[in-house]
Amino acid sequence: MTLRTEPVVVNVGPHHPSTHGVFRMKLTFDGENIIDAEPVIGYLHRGTEKLAEERQYTQVITLTDRLDYVSSMTNNQAYVLSCERLVGIEPPARGKYLRVIAAELQRVASHLIGVGFFLQELGVFGGTALMYAFRERERILDMFEMLCGARITLSYMRIGGVLQDAPEEFWPSLRSFLDDMPGYADEMQALVFESEIVRARAIGVAPVSAEDAVAASFTGPILRASGVAWDWRKAAPYDVYDQVEFEVPTCEGGDNYDRFWVRMQEVRQSLRIIEQCCAQIEPGPVRATMAMLFRPPPGEAYVPIEAPKGELGFYLVSDGSIAPYRCHVRSPSFMSLTLFREMLVGWKLADAIVTLGSLDFNMGEVDR
């Protein structure tokens, strides 16, 4: 008698504990092995690009908050940079420094979530590591609250600077955070990256070669994990990234483990950048004076920034009216689904979940 297995199609999601929101994957299984995979997205499509076409330039900022809702700061930043390029104004120095501090804090928060969910998906019950990550993220959110009164949907950055100067109590709490965070990063590293089970589960799983990553438009940590040292903060420094020193961490393997290793190293680099910004920042205005309602000259602008998840940019086309004629969001999360099938086929269900976690995409940004 010959034993025969039959392929089973399983819909993982859109309601599933570890699909980062409402993401659905159609997986075909042969036993526990995945033989085909297809991402099905669009469950969180809110038509941000269409909505932006009927709002003034300043009003679009609040829409960008809702794209990648765990890193609103960098979304704001990408949008206002494109707007400033379009209008042709330059924010004052203090505004730029505050932007970089806020953006790097946001990067730390986003990577903490990424690493926390990675361990969650590896199966630490109830997410011990997730709770540890959220504990630190909480402090960042508290600081954001001091900056602009909001915790998630921030809208802190404005065209021509930032909303307001940081209040007095912001600096001491930033200081204490900068003092504590390296210790927590060490702790997390010991918990995550030196655990033998994590190594057994993540090393060598779902690797992406450098060529494939570049061809598939991967950017951010998932590109750098494959060994390509590409970072828009270095390639085309915006705001004050040309004033600070930092390194671009890379790995060779491009597997799940490396993707998280890179994120953890980036957290340390972010702290380094914030330290330097704190040392360099000078008193002064934080926002260029400009009209609330403005009509940029016809033309187009695109400024790519290095968001926590990769290259984020807003392609703005102006026809000289008060609203953008076209606003396209180049979202890193969307691109990171490109190799979805190639990365998952041949691995097991458990690996598929961890691989999703390691891509660290955010459905708000994928579906826009």
């Binding site: 269409k50 061809a215 438009s217 390509v228 076209r326 691109m335 490109t338 826009r368």
Partner: protein, 158 residues
């Protein structure tokens, strides 16, 4: 600092290999003949002097009389970007050759453009809706898109 390759310079470089491919060029972008876009992209990817290994983004703009598909290319080795544009005429069935064979990363983006703008890409498999659902009528990012009236109404108004 990233060099943004001027469209005119790009047109100059392409003229030799593809004499008729460039329609016009300005300081930012080069407009490519739609039928040649896939070949031009392949050349720009493989030619060592250009080496645009990454398609940073692919999107489309609806200018009502035509659709403009925008290709943003990045060369990681040269730290340079280039902007290609191609016009797709017609509102019934505008279409362009696909570049998803050149860059794998164009795959989902072309599907997105087809879904939201209704610009089809030829010579690629699996061109189906991605952000809206199967059976959705129309392409919502077009300038003349109007949301159809709901086929149902709530019991109390609405």
């Amino acid at each position: 600092m990233t060099t943004a390759t001027a469209g005119t310079a790009l047109a100059e470089a392409l003229r030799e290999r593809f004499p008729n491919a460039v329609q016009e060029a300005d300081a930012h972008a080069a407009w490519i003949e739609p039928s040649a876009i896939a070949d031009v992209c392949l050349f720009l990817r493989d030619d060592p002097a250009h080496d645009y290994k990454m398609l940073s983004s692919l999107t489309a703009v609806d200018y009502v009389e035509h659709f403009e598909v925008v290709y943003r290319l990045t060369s990681l080795s040269r730290n340079a970007t280039a902007l290609l544009k191609a016009r797709a005429r017609g509102r019934e069935s505008p279409s362009l050759p696909s570049v998803s064979g050149v860059w794998r990363g164009a795959d989902l983006q072309e599907r997105e453009v087809w879904d939201l703008m209704g610009v089809a890409f030829e010579g690629r498999p699996n061109l189906k809706r991605i952000l809206t659902w199967e059976g959705f009528q129309g392409h919502p990012l077009r300038r003349d898109y109007l949301e159809p009236p709901l086929p149902y109404s709530w019991p109390h108004g609405g």
